[in-house]
């Protein structure tokens, strides 16, 4: 098992024929992801990368039974693309697009209420279940199959963590890039919960950053319900107050937004908190040993 995506996922690409969509669709196909087609309004009926192009997500669901969609649509139209995927009944919607206006995402959040779709992102690297499906923009070779789940707000920092985990002799069950925007579809806590319930995941790495209260929420949940060791890192211990550090959501407003505050709560909730990003892999190894001996 694994979470969110696997070899049976039937993936479509929204924004299929654009340059980003084309490049990453090719990479995903090469990885072995079951890409069954794509959507570009007005280009329905054509073939692209040997796969059918549809005008609407609904057609893709009806004709090729798509159940996962990855979105590379530009920011101005991305919220609409997410809602279209939800309307068509897509189970897992992964929005890569960076720069979607907050108000658009507020409407998306409302629109998704009561629907069965799960949104991952936006502004995220996607989701990978190594050896089965890569639905994202991450370099696939870094992620080797194994038993560690990763939840992260950041792209390259996820690759860094995965690389350390793999080189430490462990592998990855599923890595979930939840995104660095102020409003995202799946919170840290929800992603951790998915991995906690996954029988193939034995340990979880939780990577957060300054801004918002999602890591604290996840930590409290872990304290109550956690059954597996969790290693945590928060990027931005040296970030100044009031400055946006690259990601739209990475900004220290109040005192709860700081890395220090989050790390404190995480440690209090039993998470193995690392100060240095160089120690994520080795700490996971130690945490697994400690859990086995407990």
């Amino acid at each position: 098992m694994s979470v969110l995506v696997n070899k049976n996922s039937r993936v479509i690409v929204q924004g299929f024929t654009g340059s980003e969509g084309t490049f990453h669709a090719e990479q995903m196909i090469e990885y072995g992801t079951n890409v069954v087609g794509g959507v570009t309004p007005g280009k329905g009926g054509q073939k692209h990368l040997d796969r059918p192009v549809f005008n609407t997500v609904k057609e893709a669901v009806e004709q090729v039974q798509a159940n996962v969609s990855i979105i590379f649509v530009p920011p101005a139209f991305a919220a609409d693309a997410i809602m279209e995927a939800a309307d068509a009944g897509i189970e897992v919607i992964i929005a890569i697009t960076e720069g979607i206006p907050v108000r658009d995402m507020m409407y998306v959040k409302e629109y998704l209420k009561g629907k069965k779709s799960r949104l991952i992102g936006p502004n995220c690297p996607g989701v990978i279940t190594p050896g089965e499906a890569k639905v994202g923009i991450m370099p696939g070779f870094v992620f080797k199959p194994g038993k560690i789940g990763i939840v992260s707000k950041s792209g390259t920092l996820t690759y860094e963590a995965a690389d350390q985990v793999v080189k430490a002799g462990l592998g990855i069950s599923t890595a979930i890039g939840i995104g660095g925007d102020p409003i995202i579809g799946t919170s840290t806590k929800e992603a951790v919960e998915l991995l906690m319930n996954d029988p193939e995941t034995e340990g979880i790495i939780m990577i957060g950053e300054i801004g918002g209260g999602m890591e604290a929420e996840a930590a409290r949940w872990i304290k109550e319900h956690g059954t597996k060791p969790v290693v945590g890192f928060i990027a931005g211990q040296t970030a100044p107050k009031g400055r946006r550090m690259g990601h739209a959501g990475a900004i220290v407003g109040g005192k709860d937004d700081t890395a220090q505050a989050k790390m404190k709560i995480m440690a209090e909730c039993g998470i193995h908190v690392v100060k240095s990003p160089a120690e994520i892999g080795s700490t996971m190894v130690e945490a697994l040993k400690a859990a086995a001996n407990a």
Partner: protein, 400 residues
Amino acid sequence: MNIHEYQAKDILKRYGVRVQEGIVADTPAKAVEAARQLQEETGTEIFVIKAQIHAGGRGKGGGVKLAKSINEVEEVAGKILGMQLVTPQTGPEGKKVHKVLVAQDVYYPGPSEPKEYYVSILLDRATGQDVIIASSEGGMDIEEVAEKHPDKIVKEFIDTRVGLRDFQARKVAFALGLEGDAMKEMVKFIKNLYRAYVDIEASLVEINPALKTSDNKIIAVDAKVNLEDNALFRHPDLAALRDITEEDPAEVEAGEYGLNYVKLDGNVGCMVNGAGLAMATMDMIKLSGGEPANFLDVGGKANAQTVEAGFRIILKDPNVKAILINIFGGIVRCDRVANGVVEAYKNIGEINVPIIVRLQGTNAEEAAKIIDESGLKVYSAITLQEAAEKVQKAVKGELA
């Protein structure tokens, strides 16, 4: 994006928000002219001269002063214009004042006592909804109020689908202890503020203080409006309000190259791909005994041009004693990035600080070889731990 008080007030007025009237001026002579015009329009006898910089706490730094008559305006404005204003939010070097707002007096005597309130609207990230935050403790820093008098803070969450309802604005006004005309005025004030907030896609509208005048009007005495960067493409008129003189010149230049740069006060510069890894790299520099000199995300494509631009921007900072380049090459190949680094170095010529290049991912070994054989003052690393150790040596001056 931040804008000035005078710009914020101009916008809010268009939505029917009552503001303390004022006219902006960039010389003492123009300030006098502004005062004369303001006197004609509003009848005010006293003038408030307010420095226009992108930072709060201006009063504490001497950036807000009273001219008790029109005769004092020139002198007061002359003192503020051109000053290097230091406030709790500017940092020790302060910010140069290029403009002042000559504003009317709104604390005039009348049938009731004037009283200051606090009103703001922003996104509550936990719920994904907008929230109105209000307090009877106006004029104070809201974080301080939250800490000392949490009971004096009113929060009202707004349903995204239906927007702010009248009863909610009434709830807030009554909770602030207002009654009669002042309550009705506050309801109007909040509703108009919300209309503006939604329409201009602000990330924050903060009125502190919102004054109940002696004749029961509600007036925005100060106004802070932050616009959401990702929505500016829909608002070209608002995007045009950007004042780059308020920004760090190196940050402006970095933006032109598509680099995301934030200047800090440390001694180790860094250049990284990805925002999360960039923050993590800064943290690692600190743990290695250095202080990060900047945040710099070169984004998805780290090539010779972006690396060279990054070098030039980091090297403008005389405090930088070493530079760490940290690239996790996924789809970008490390050997290409390494060649880019060498090429950029040669284009710049002599660089007098050690450079540590940590390249991990596709073709990392080849990349390390390219760096080591370049003959330049560049040191390679593959793991993050190695990079940290080399930074530590560089900080101590031990990197040969």
